[in-house]
Amino acid sequence: MTAAILVSIFMTLAAAATPILLAALGELVTEKAGVLNLGVEGMMLCGAVAGFAVAYSTGSVALGLIAATLAGVAAAMIFALLTLGLGSNQVATGLALTIFGIGASSLIGAGFVGRTITRLGPLFPADYAAHPWLRLVFGHDAIVYLSLALVLAVGLFLRRTRAGLILRAVGENADSAHAIGYRVLAIRTAATAFGGALAGLGGAYFSLALTPMWADRLTAGRGWIALALVVFAAWKPGRLLIGAYLFGAVATFELQAKAAGWSFVAPEVLAMTPYLATIVVLTMMSLGRRTGGRDAPACLGKPFPAQ
């Protein structure tokens, strides 16, 4: 296996990991504030279709990315209005949001089926990435770098800033946070909006970078993987990064092994690997922690004020 192939595999891996990383990072912040939004898949699809529609109509991928972010926020605000404003059940509303996102994106996207755009290209000029190893560093598109920067930013925000501390307090004990005067619902709404923005951006990564087209259910269930990843990472941004790239690596390895003709493993077994790996990791995590689930924010999914 030559260096060029290895580099190419890593590029595929990073591209596969990025949308999941973005969506999961947004959901992590939402959940840290105590809101469980299962509508990630729906918000990603809203972002994917809005991004494609705007990029196709205006010819600008950058505008598409902005539109996708806003569409994700809009979808998240529907969720916030229902769960935070009207006190509806978060699990049911999140599932409904996914169903809504699938339908709405299909409706909006109907006129864009069969169209394509120029995909989001590498951020740096080609000369930077002339050598295969340099491609590892300079060969990615802007969103890959942005996602890595956001992991760092979210990590610092949650651990090192006062605002991050308040957000975590709202997620751990909403009543206490309320008692000392923090506006629980406003903070939760903001966290939900951030989650929607990143989910929308992650969705747009499909329609603008990975597969520059619109087709129904373009994200094909990645939103659910993002949700699982948050649990896998135990609500820690650093582990989220590792988890997303691990998922990308396992998925890419599966395809590379098949292409290379490693016939000693049945294709069905290879197809199982990403999911097997998830089960193994989750099992190991719960075995290693007798108290089980202590990493989750204590008020996750609980309405405020309590009903």
């Binding site: 089926v113 597969t211 890419t252 292409a259 003709g261």
Partner: protein, 357 residues
Amino acid sequence: MSTIITRRTLLAGAAATSVLPLTGARAQAPFGVGFVYVGPVGDHGWTWTHDQGRKAVEAAYGNKVKTSFIENVAEGPDAARAIRQLAQAGDKLIFTTSFGFMNPTIQVAKQFPKVFFEHATGYQRAENVATYNARFYEGRAVIGTIAGHMSKSGQAGYIASFPIPEVVMGINAFHLAAKKVNPNFKTKVIWASTWYDPAKEADAAKALIDQGCDIITQHTDSAAALQAAEQRGVYAFGQASDMKAFAPKAHLSAIVDDWSGYYVKRVKEAMDGSWKSGDVWGGIKDGMVKLAPYNDAVSPAARAAADELQKGIVSGTIHPFTGELKDQKGTLRLKAGETATDEVLSKMDWYVDGVQA
């Protein structure tokens, strides 16, 4: 007139109210025709081509028919509910358009003996259940011929869904045709284990290109693999519909499904009472399988060979599966000069030499 029922509204139980009215005892009630799709109509692939057929039925008969469809129906027992839904809503002819709908179709057909059913790509029939399919392997042989001529590395990547006979025969037909041009030709298969997952299809194409394939073809439903081929500067073929718009340079041709003629004909037969169960397997000759216009990049030699093969298939002088043919284990499958019967084709579970599956 048409009614769109999504999987979701069906689950929510709302579908009943959205389809039930209009039909019933009215004398001039339009003839109900239902379609059950495995994917979204917006896939621009398999399901999209069936929906084009549905639209052709509407265009042909206008207000005399009322078509409706349910999309994104999971294969397996769950499909029975979707099929029953259409039958209960008063549809008189129901097309179920995926292999995995076979048993549910037969099951529901028993409960509705007066409704006609048409199941695509299956082999189980009944008094009121007909089957139909297209000879896609003929199209596969044509693109295999082009691949044999156009590949410099002598390696093609094939993104496949599931190892059912339909897919296996496509792989073999493609490979045999390419091998006729280049005896050392290799076809590398990746089983995506899905009919539809654009990002995974694109990644599979990239993996195959990394491994030296300079031709990409697919038996999955989206255009994502073509886009990956375009990005990496290799050639590819469209699947189910002309996908040139997605990959102007990479798209050499495409196997185009055309169900319109069959659907229009069968709906007419069902309306005038002459509908009979049977098995139709149409190919290039019947217009059910078509080839999209060749890309300018296709060499004159490749064009000539592909055209000649098409002519031979239409006139019946060439069959893509002609002996002597051995499978990978060396078992003789077809004697010298023998052509594969439909029976052999529809049960194919072996690969010819040179296929890496």
